[in-house]
């Protein structure tokens, strides 16, 4: 299911058997991008859109994205909202507790650059990329579910192009 479609024509399948041959990179990348388990938290109004995206209408489950309550289980964090300095301390710690490979999707203006708090927000971190590396930025205030889905598909593309041999920035 899926692997033959998703791994393009470099996958070889024997005519009669249930054996396929592919590269390690493709297999790993396929398995990683198909089950991006998500850290179970939301930070501000972006979290409402994230919840809407998780709910039945947009259905994040179909990408294999399931919220998990422990950093030990998860592969991605959706930074869904305003990151206060108090929360940034916690996020950094949660990020450090995640097993590699780990990915960050920064959702909305606040997480990208501080958003409306850029000038007078003494308590707001002006962009989550100041403390942890971000893979995909989704602009919007807050982004609609469609925008978040596009961000996640971009992240899947990014994972699909990874390689064990060479690091892709």
């Amino acid at each position: 299911m899926g692997i033959l479609n998703k791994l393009d024509n470099s996958v070889e399948q024997f005519e009669s058997g249930n054996i396929i041959i592919t590269s390690m990179d493709k297999l790993l990348n396929w398995s990683r991008l198909s089950s991006m388990w998500q850290m179970f938290f939301g930070l501000a109004c972006c979290a409402i859109e994230m919840m809407a995206t998780s709910a039945s209408h947009y259905d994040l489950d179909r990408f294999g994205i399931i919220p998990r309550p422990s950093p030990r289980h998860v592969d991605i964090i959706l930074i869904s909202g305003t990151v206060t300095l108090k929360m940034a301390t916690r996020i950094k710690r949660l990020y450090d507790e995640m097993p590699a490979p780990k990915y960050i999707l920064s959702m909305g203006s606040c997480a990208n650059c501080g958003g409306p708090y850029w000038e007078h927000g003494y308590h707001v971190l002006k962009g989550i990329d100041r403390i942890i590396p971000v893979d995909v930025y989704v602009p919007g205030c807050p982004p609609r579910p469609e925008a978040l889905l596009e961000g996640l598909i971009k992240l899947q593309e990014r994972i699909r192009n990874q390689s064990l041999a060479k690091h892709i920035a």
Partner: protein, 159 residues
């Protein structure tokens, strides 16, 4: 009771401790009370038969003017349906005021917030810690003269 009746009654009990009633501003009528008497005033407002201010709607901290902070008490009475605003000035040089958390339990967290952001000390509050900012934060950000620090725990704060 009307605001004038409430005010006159308080004035007759506490005398000099109650300042002038201001009704000509585009806000709810208010008066200043002596900060050193606020615990007695609060208890009177809650327990007096004709007052019965059983609910503290809000307690706010304000950077009031050059020399003073202020604590603003918004009160209302479910029993009698009237409202009241009392303010207390607290000098910046020695920002201490008595807590009213033993009169209205709701005051406890409100006082922690005022302490956290504006920095007055509520004497008698059983748990006067920061409530919003991290515990190792320095300064009180809603003071007019507050300067945003460059860094907090290695994280750059300005844009």
């Amino acid at each position: 009771m009307e605001i004038n009746e409430i005010y006159n009654k308080l004035k007759s009990v506490f005398g000099e401790g109650i300042g002038e009633l201001k009704t000509d501003l585009p806000v709810r009528p208010f008066f200043f009370a002596d900060a050193s008497k606020i615990d007695a005033v609060a208890l009177f407002l809650r327990d007096e038969e004709s007052m019965q201010f059983d609910n503290l709607s809000c307690l706010s901290g304000v950077d009031y003017d050059k020399d003073n902070l202020a604590v603003v008490y918004h009160l209302c009475s479910y029993a009698l349906g009237h409202q009241l605003v009392v303010k207390c000035l607290v000098p910046k040089s020695d920002p201490k005021i008595k807590s009213v958390s033993d009169v209205w339990a709701a005051a406890e967290w409100h006082e922690r917030e005022a302490f956290d952001l504006v920095g007055m000390i509520f004497e008698g509050n059983p748990d006067l810690r920061r409530i919003l900012l991290p515990e190792d934060w320095e300064g009180h950000p809603l003071r007019k003269d507050y300067k945003v620090p460059e860094f907090y725990n290695g994280m750059k704060i300005p844009y």
